[in-house]
């Protein structure tokens, strides 16, 4: 296995992860809610809406993060290499599947594993596995 040492950022990633964990901790302990982004957004796209205020507030916070960041520092690279067609297909798949499977990287991966939920551990293993396979196929089989 070849490690990409140039892009390896263990400390920033660990600290960023700790912040994500802190945010999830605040939301469950103070608001009594799970910081699962697909679930929070999904709750705003439903035929019958209820308890939407905290959802909108959380999403507003997420949107504001890069804006506030730019007041004090330059944003790190946020590089999207995928083309428009792939972005649309990937977005559709992510939208449907995260609702179908009741969660994404945050809800299952962070909150669920922190709760030691067997469901979330299975879900996380499933999407990690499929993510590794997809990138392998795209980059090393199809050679895109």
């Amino acid at each position: 296995m070849l490690i990409d040492w140039n892009n390896f950022t263990p400390w920033a990633s660990l600290a960023g992860g700790a912040l994500i964990g802190l945010a999830a901790s605040l939301l469950i302990l103070i608001n009594g809610r799970i910081a699962g982004i697909s679930g929070i957004i999904g709750g705003l796209i439903k035929p019958r809406l209820h308890d939407i205020d905290w959802r909108i507030a959380f999403i507003a916070g997420l949107i504001s993060a890069p804006l506030l960041w730019q007041l004090f520092a330059t944003l790190p690279d946020l590089q999207v290499d995928a083309g428009y067609g792939i972005l649309i297909i990937a977005g559709l798949i992510v939208g449907i599947s995260t609702r179908y499977g009741s969660g994404c990287t945050s809800g299952h991966g962070v909150c669920g594993i922190s709760r030691m939920s067997p469901r979330s551990i299975i879900a996380t293993l499933s999407f990690m596995f499929a993510g590794f396979v997809t990138v392998f196929v795209v980059r090393h089989v199809l050679g895109v």
Binding site: L2, I3, D4, N7, F8, P10, A12, S13, L14, G16, G17, L19, I20, G21, A23, A24, L26, L27, L29, N31, G32, I37, I45, D53, A57, F58, I59, L62, A65, L68, L78, V80, D81, I86, L87, I88, A90, G91, I93, V94, G95, I96, T98, R99, Y100, G101, S102, S114, S117, S126, F127, A130, G131, F132, V133, T134, V135, V138, R139, H140
Partner: protein, 145 residues
């Protein structure tokens, strides 16, 4: 502004800062993590480690409480069933994640960062969620017939 909204806003903000600092909001870095056979960037494993190390304490406390610190009900998931939906949903999500390197949280952060490509992904994701709701309505109608 009531406290519920204020703290949700704060949590979203901290979550967003975390995603940016961690490198998780950078799709190229996410794909570098998912590319085991290429030049592998293991950083994102550290994101998960850091998040879970903090979260595990909070969720252990949360699990013992009936109400949140604001006196709100604890909305902890109660489903225990490991079914087809969970696994197929997870696998499909992994495919979408692997195609673009974007998951729902970073999609929202990319909107705030003014990334047009991020906005395109986000719109497609919202459409996907709406399609899911429509399929659910149809499923319920068939069940009730």
């Amino acid at each position: 502004m009531n406290k519920n909204i204020l703290f949700a806003l704060l949590a979203g903000l901290i979550f967003g800062f975390g995603l940016i600092l961690a490198g998780m909001a950078n799709p190229a870095k996410v794909l570098g993590f998912l590319d085991l056979a290429g030049a592998w960037d293991p950083s994102l494993a550290f994101v998960m480690g850091g998040a879970i190390a903090v979260g595990i304490v909070a969720f252990a406390i949360a699990g013992k409480r009936d109400l949140s610190l604001l006196g709100l009900p604890m909305h902890l998931p109660t489903t225990r069933q490991i079914d087809k939906r969970l696994v197929i949903g997870g696998l499909l999500f992994g495919i979408g994640w692997g195609l673009a390197g974007i998951c729902p949280g970073p999609a929202v952060v990319l909107l705030g960062a003014g990334s047009l490509k991020g906005v395109l992904f986000l719109i497609a994701m919202l459409v996907g969620m709406a399609i899911f709701e429509l399929l659910e309505i149809r499923r319920h109608m068939r069940h009730n017939k």
